[in-house]
């Protein structure tokens, strides 16, 4: 498997939310449904402060807990590229299933619309764009060129192998497919 992955340069992210909004526009997602998320990390007391943003989506883990937790096999890890996709026809829905995927995801990635028994949805790695040779919409949106997508091995060769950042805890048991240039505290 040639696992696809994300790279995020946290030193560049100004928390502008362009990636989030571009993702919502591309996927026609309403308020409250965020396939891409920004986390704000604030520390210190005036005037000695630290601020970092973390922009992430589904990490398409090498060993994704959501796939195991799903009672109907609606969450599939693609063999070719390791992208984790959802078959919404198989998904039982938030209410009927009790959102087991959300309960096991340490990063709260699975999203549900504000509708009765809505189906789980999340980042699908813009698979239709990748097939056309384009990058994901978030990568092409970022005004700071802080995001990148490629096979994880290529990303590691290009950017190194740091898998933790401010606001992000790496979990070896799931192996999230993301590497970082983390923002360091002074």
């Amino acid at each position: 498997m040639n696992q696809m992955g994300f790279y995020f340069d946290q030193t560049r992210c100004t928390g502008c939310y362009t990636c989030v909004v571009a993702c919502k526009d591309w996927n026609d997602n309403p308020v409250g449904v965020n396939w891409r998320l920004i986390k704000t990390v604030e520390n210190g007391t005036f005037p000695n402060l630290f601020l970092a943003y973390l922009s992430t989506s589904c990490h398409h883990c090498a060993d994704p807990p959501c796939v195991k937790a799903c009672p109907t096999g609606a969450i599939i890890k693609r063999k070719s590229d390791g992208i984790v996709v959802v078959n919404s026809e198989k998904c039982l829905g938030k209410k009927d299933c009790g959102s087991k995927c959300l309960k096991v995801c340490p990063w709260d990635i699975p999203q549900f619309r504000d509708e009765e028994n809505s189906k789980m949805e999340k980042c699908n790695f813009c698979v239709e764009r990748l097939e056309k040779g384009q990058q994901t919409i978030c990568v092409e949106a970022c005004p700071m060129f802080a995001l990148d997508v490629a096979p994880l091995k290529e990303l590691q060769e290009k950017y190194g192998n740091i898998c933790e950042a401010e606001g992000f805890d790496y979990l070896e048991k799931y192996k999230p497919s993301i590497i970082f240039k983390p923002k360091l505290r002074k």
Partner: protein, 763 residues
Amino acid sequence: MVGFKIAQEKDGLKIINTGCCHDCGGRCVLRAHIKNGKIIRLETDNEEDPQLRACLRGRAYRQRVYSDERLRYPLRRVGERGEGIFERISWDEALDEVAFKIKEIKKNYGNSAILLVPGGGNQGMLHGIVSHALMLHQIGGYTRMWGAPSYEGALFASMATYGTMMTGNAREDLLNSKFIIMWGWNPANTVWDPGTSLWLAKAREQGIKIVAIDPIFTDSAAILANDWIPIRPGTDTAMLIAMGYIIITENLHDQAFIEKYTVGFDKYKEYVLGINDGEPKTPKWAEKITSVPASIIENLAREYATIKPAALIAGWGPARTMFGEQYSRAANVLCAITGNIGINGGYSSGFMRAYYSRERIVTGGKKKSGPIKLEEEKLKKPRIQDNPIDFGAPPREDSLYKLKGGTNPVNTRIHYNDYYNAILKGKKGGYPADIKMAYIVGTNRLNQFGNVNKGIKALKSLDYIVIFEQFMTPTAQLADIVLPVNTFMERNDVAVPWLGAPYYIFLNKAIDSIYESKSDLEICKELSKRLGVEQNLLDLPEDQILRLLTAPRKDIKSYNKLKRDGFYKVKVEEPFVAFKEQIEDPETHPFPTLSGKIEIYCEHIAEKNNPLMPPIPKYLSHEEHYDSPKAKRFPLQLLTPHNKRRTHSTLHNIPWLEEVEPHNAWINPIDALRRNIKDGDLIDVFNDRGRIRIPAKVTERILPGAVCVYQGAWYNPDKEGIDLGGCANVLTQDSYSPGGAFPLNSSLVEIELASINKKEGDL
């Protein structure tokens, strides 16, 4: 690449190359995916560098175009003014009425009774205010404004010091700097040309040290800069002058540069050393005023003066204060005395418009630079496009009219933050006209200028108000006729970069007009007929007018390419550096000031003999400053900056953007604790001008003593007149600084728990 260069149709999908053009610091590329006549998705620029990538505002544009709140039909007021009750009427009915009113007011009171209220909310080279102004000029003109809220202080200072607004270096030249100061400048949120934050990040990655000075730990201060120096609002001038003190007393100034290129250094030095007033402007002196420790001021001064070349980039925010022009002047002078002007890696702080093709009238084009001789006759003779009402108007007070390209005496009338007094007081109150009608184009005027409550009183007193808008804004609520205008997705236009960066964007029409909305051009064609305008430029087809309007821009080599690609990036051989010619060859290229040099002491200002507008930059206090008597009642200083998710008040009502950042008031925990306020509590921010009620964001990211309410939230009063929308301008002043600066960051306020919270607490 999928169908980028030329709009292609595949599987019923068409991609139109267009852009985003609001009154922000960017003009960016958007590619609209169209299916069945509807925009279904947007992409941005992923072509050649520099990419003009749209920010979140542009990416959310689909929700603005298709918003349920878009104005659909012409509306006529039926209730009391401001009640917000309207009836649907036809375009013919609406335009007949507007034309009749214009003619009636013109006949009874003269053209000066018509007040044009322009804005950048809906713009382009042709649409927005341009079409309307062209039309109104031809029926005899109108009373108009001078002064721009964003930058008037910076502009005045730039003109006084350099004789031009064309200052600074191109962004890519930041990589040639060795030290960068971002003063009151937050491009991470305000954009300032699409690539600015990226260039700053690249500079920092190269090891160039960046220091940010701001009362708020902004995204720029936190992410783009290495160090942050918090400063008390409105005291930036004191810190800049104290830096001058260190530079001069430690002999770090560039004496050769000063002698060759500047005038008036000795008078500045006298002030800085306190020769005449007995008050040396030491870092200790500044520490008391600014709250910045003297040692930090000293270090920054030494670093700036000795690490060369260095770029001091003075943002406009600190100049949006009473005496804001003094701050800009003080920054310009530091650039000069350290010899950082006209060189790669340096920076001439000023108005900040480095690329010059768009302003041929000042120093660009083939005109020789140098001192400008005042040609009285020329100024009296109107050009075709000039507004007839301007001619014969009294000169603007404190105008730098001897400088070409500046604010000359015949094209300015009422300061834009003084409209309400002008309306309420008229000629008897010393204003040049008795205003009867407001003609409002693309601006949420009431919301976006000082003193909303006085604004309501003034606008209600008028005989007639017509507004051309896309949404029922708080301003539109006060109109007699509301006319629905389409967006830039629904017409063709050209977007000119905000500060003149080397590119243009063609806003190709992506979809048909929504509901019954029309473009400004369509409206003005119709209205012109009714007003009897003959030989009308607006009668030409849209494409022909755009060709005419872009023709003087000699850097657009191909209009057809611009239109086809949706953008035109001008090839620039090397980073533009303002005043390179003046520094390399001063004999042939003097500065376009009266002296031909950089004016540390400005003789033209000295002629005004106004102690509140000194010829050298000075720190001045005022009646809404932290140390004024008023501060006993209202001890907190209000800041009203731009946030990341609106463009002024435009895009306020877009759900995707509302989700990004809730509207609230930033206060430091120290101030919150004193008032028993917790994060998220509903609080009132108030002063004598009004009261707003919004949640508190208790955060370390703001200096104690300051409150921040991001400008642009829509005014929404309850029955008692308390603004539940949280419009910052309910609290700001409708006055102006002698140099024209808008004091929108100079308001004193107090905060308290909202009574609704108190009641809950009592129970």
